[in-house]
């Protein structure tokens, strides 16, 4: 569950990224965030895992109030949020298996748990047979699947994907979308910022459009709505 009320965000350099955002997203929803570059999409998603802090207003994610959360509680809050980026952000020296296991090692899971959950999640993104490869030996789509596996291996309630298909060709993009749908079907809220008209208009879900730091449109089963 995500709830934002009267959220403003001004960066230290004076740029106002968000200009009064009110939004409510239920657990288990699949939401696209669309809008022109620089409209505030990234800031909007960053607020949800305390990568950025709202200048004004309240942000609630799951059971955490991110406007008042103590610094030392942030890591625990993040264990309930998975994040996927356009550029994958994998560790190049580690194998696929190690990259995913890393997310569990650093939160001090037991080795047995790590083994079981990493294999489960690699199965889920259909990369079990590539567990021993390093990222450079994989295609872009496969690398993005590794990064998704890493994001969901903690079994987060919320998955945030910032243009996850931005670097991928259309076929590969569909592959990623199917995986995100599957994850969503299991109850995880998925929030996806995207520029892909084709995806938004084909897999119809809730669409939130942001322009100049404000929500200008919020439709269930919406359309992309911008000309390319």
């Amino acid at each position: 569950m995500i709830e934002m009320k009267g959220v403003y965000k001004t960066y230290p350099n004076g740029v106002t990224a968000l200009n009064g955002i009110d939004v409510h997203i239920d657990q288990g929803e699949f939401v696209y965030v669309v809008g022109p570059s620089g409209a505030g999409k990234s800031t909007f998603t960053k607020l949800m895992f305390r990568e950025e802090r709202a200048t004004k207003g309240s942000v609630n994610v799951n059971d955490y109030n991110l406007s008042t959360i103590k610094e030392r509680h942030v890591p625990y809050m993040r264990r309930n949020v998975g994040v996927v980026y356009q550029d994958f952000r994998l560790l190049p020296r580690l194998t696929v298996y190690e990259n995913v296991a890393f997310a569990l090692e650093v939160i001090e899971e037991s080795p047995n748990q790590i083994r079981r959950r990493v294999m489960d999640v690699l199965d889920q993104v259909r990369l079990k047979n590539k567990a021993r490869f390093i990222p450079d030996e994989l295609s872009g789509g496969e690398q993005q699947r590794v990064s998704i596996a890493r994001a969901i291996v903690n079994r987060p309630q919320l998955l945030i994907a910032d243009e996850p298909t931005g670097n991928l060709d259309p076929d590969t993009s569909w592959e990623i979308m199917h995986i995100l749908e599957e994850i969503n079907a299991k109850g995880t809220t998925v929030l996806m910022a995207t520029h892909s008209q084709e995806i938004v208009n084909t897999i119809r879900r809730r669409v939130i459009a942001i322009e100049d730091g404000q929500i200008v449109r919020d439709e269930a089963r919406g359309e992309y709505g911008y000309e390319i």
Binding site: F49, E71, R72, P75, Y76, M77, R78, R79, V83, R89, L91, F102, A103, E105, V106, I107, E108, P111, R150, A151, N154
Partner: protein, 297 residues
């Protein structure tokens, strides 16, 4: 923290020490140089202190009684001396005692003085042990002002010079050590900074998936600790073997009996422990500085 986690931090810290190559060598080298000097200096200082306090313990003020004084004068003087507050112990030594002591202390040559037994040229004397060696001077001044006192003697100059030398050596040595310790800390914090920058991406991912701040910081503390401890190996070996040689081979050749080195065991081992502790401190402090500055977690 779980034991397994400690193992992981140690592995990560060790890996960085290895990967940083030349930076590691320069940081360890700086710690080594610092600790070598600290070790030599401490060995010297502590032994000087020991010598000084041995001499201090022997400090006594000798008050020579005027030769014309009669028994009454002597007992009056005794009570006057006793009333000086700094006086610890007061002994009377007649001129016959004084002569005997002189004769004894000179050995064979002293026998010549036995001729004086009939007409002893020495004075009766009071020997005062001060409560605190530093007060010898005050006692001497006060005693000098009394009647029936011919002269007051004490090993003033040797003691004073030794104290002074000791003090200078201490300041110069301390200044040097502080400077070197800072250099070493600086080099260590730079080495760790390089690790932090090299692992920026890794740290970003750790934060993203919810690693706690202390979990992120630990490997860097361990890296610093390792650098400090590695830097203390050579100094410890040098201090142990050097002091062993000094104590067992040179001690006999030193002629003055008031110079006595602190015994090898336990002194050298205590010194080694201290060097290790200082090395560890330098390492951890260096990493704390870097982590605070460059690791915004």
């Amino acid at each position: 923290m779980k034991f397994r986690t400690l193992g992981r931090h140690t592995r990560e810290g060790g890996k960085s020490v290895w990967r940083n190559g030349w930076m590691t060598i320069s940081a360890v080298g700086a710690v080594t140089t610092t600790l070598l000097l600290v070790g030599v200096f401490l060995a010297l200082m502590l032994n000087l202190n020991e010598v000084a306090s041995n001499i201090e313990d022997d400090v006594e003020v000798k008050v020579l009684v005027d030769r014309t004084a009669d028994e009454e004068d002597v007992s009056a003087l005794e009570s006057e001396l006793e009333s000086i507050p700094e006086v610890g112990n007061l002994d009377y030594s007649s001129k016959e005692d004084e002569l005997n002591e002189l004769v004894d202390s000179l050995g064979d040559q002293g026998k010549a003085f036995e001729l004086f037994e009939q007409s002893n040229p020495l004075n009766d004397a009071f020997i005062i042990e001060p409560d605190n060696p530093v007060e010898a001077l005050a006692i001497a001044d006060e005693a000098e002002s009394l009647d029936r006192v011919e002269e007051v003697d004490f090993g003033e100059e040797i003691v004073q010079r030794l104290f002074q030398f000791n003090e200078y050596a201490r300041y110069i040595g301390l200044g040097l050590i502080v400077g070197l310790v800072f250099t070493a800390i600086f080099l260590i914090s730079n080495t760790i900074k390089i690790t932090i920058i090299a692992r920026k991406k890794e740290i970003g991912i750790m934060k993203l998936v919810g690693a706690t701040n202390s979990f992120i910081r630990w490997p860097f503390f361990i890296e610093g600790l390792l650098l400090g401890v590695l830097g203390s190996i050579i100094p410890i070996a040098a201090v142990l073997s050097g002091y062993y040689y000094l104590y067992y081979n040179l001690q006999d050749r030193i002629q003055f009996d008031f110079i006595e080195l602190l015994p090898f065991n336990p002194f050298a081992f205590q010194l080694a422990g201290l060097i290790l502790a200082i090395g560890a401190f330098i390492g951890v402090w260096g990493s704390v500085m870097s982590v605070r500055k460059f690791l915004k977690v």
